[in-house]
Amino acid sequence: MSAMGSPQATGSNSSGGRPPAAIPHLAIDPFSIAFFDDPFPAHQALRDAGPVVYLETWNVYGVARYAEVHAVLNDPATFCSGRGVGLSDFAKETPWRPPSLILEADPPAHTRTRAVLSKVLSPTVMKQLRQHFTAVADATIDGLLARGSFDAVVELAEAYPLSVFPDALGLRPEGRQHLLPYAGLVFNAFGPPNELRQSAIARSAPHQAYIAEQCQRENLAPGGFGACIHAFADTGDITDKEAPLLVRSLLSAGLDTTVYGIGAAVYCLARYPDQLARLRADPTLARNAFEEAIRLESPVQTFFRTTTRAVDIGGSEVGEGEKVLMFLGAANRDPRRWAEPDSYDVTRKTSGHVGFGSGIHMCVGQLVARLEGEAVLSAIARKVASIAISGPVTRRYNNTLRGLETLPITLTAA
């Protein structure tokens, strides 16, 4: 992808500027309930329309093919995050909360904060957590096998991360009921000003108050991720004012995402008994089985970038200051990149999927997510003979996250 033509903007979201005619205009609203209920035909239409499309509902550009999504993710100088990774352009609108110092930041500022969180969530730290995370997952599956039938969203996908992640962060016991609503709010707020976003923000005050309080140093237990972040203020890597905002990043993005990821994996194994059988035959596939569920279901469906200059995307020019919506979920099922993209294959070579993003903003907590997913799927592989869906499966609606509201299942023991 390279610069083409003048560096001036050719249009803007609010001024009614006309994009070049060569770019297909689509009426698809990717933030509508109908889209959430069945995004796949729309994903295909978005991919097949061209390398870049214009979405008339929200006056933004979109990329849905793997090649363009990957290219946009890996050109942060042209496609910046500092103007927000939702629809709202921070250059034109006041953000609903103080911007994230890592997600909604660009180099060089991003480089410093990213380095701190990378160290806090490093492979070495994961080694120290592995035994505990595995033991809790084993106990969780044992308990659920004893019950037999239950809702896998509440009792497994939510219960397991809630039983390991807040403690790993060092959160106080009080107030944890705010964590999932706050995360739901954050991911709804990346979307357009629709009912989901507006109602989430309208109800946000108590959740925001809890988060602000919980991010303070005195409220974070020694040894946890939160305390480790604050310790980087002592060494001068970050300031005292930045530390709570970086803790906030883990509270925003570290819990709900893994809930949706584990929910996606259990839903896959329930629908693909042949893949559960392969996983049971070789429990070392657990980590890849989780990764493949992230590819197939893409719990984080979309993020925006904003162009810093006029740029050529697939032969069409997009002007400066334009929002570009990346369809991560569509890229992860692009037949131009993946063989049999709609099937769940626990032995697939998944490297390169964009479910965690790609490049400098790729999920900094991906190792925690994988550790949790691997622990749960490994316990299932060793202990569970079958997973049957035993009631109505319903979807939870969020502007950014894709996942379930209910997943009633019945387990039988191996």
């Binding site: 492979p123 980590r287 790729m362 190792l367």
Partner: protein, 107 residues
């Protein structure tokens, strides 16, 4: 186009063509090589493209960077003095014939 010889733990060798300027990890992925996971796709997060560099080639590589050094402490298989992350080995024509041994485990 330089060639990399990846040697599996069972001493089976696979030869892979690499693009100059890319990390050795990219060549392994493009070839579909088992033994290089590269979960983070080269974002220097995961330490799952761990390799042991054949002693004869060690001096020809650029030294380990600070970020890579920290990540190497987190590898699943033991860290050895010749351990590297293959995403950080930038291929050059001088590295034609590079021998990289694969560890028992990446996770």
């Amino acid at each position: 186009m330089p060639t990399i010889h990846f040697v599996h733990p069972d001493n089976r060798s696979e030869s892979v063509d690499a693009d100059i300027g890319n990390g050795a990890m990219r060549a392994a992925l493009a070839h579909g090589l088992d033994g290089i996971l590269a979960e983070c796709g080269g974002s220097a997060v995961c330490a799952t493209c761990h390799v042991y560099v054949d002693e004869a080639w060690l001096a020809k590589l650029k030294p380990v960077g600070a970020d890579e050094d920290e990540l190497l402490d987190g590898t699943a298989s033991e860290r050895l003095p010749n351990g590297r992350l293959s995403c950080q080995i930038e291929m050059t024509s001088e590295l034609d014939g590079l021998v990289l041994r694969l560890p028992e485990r990446q996770t």
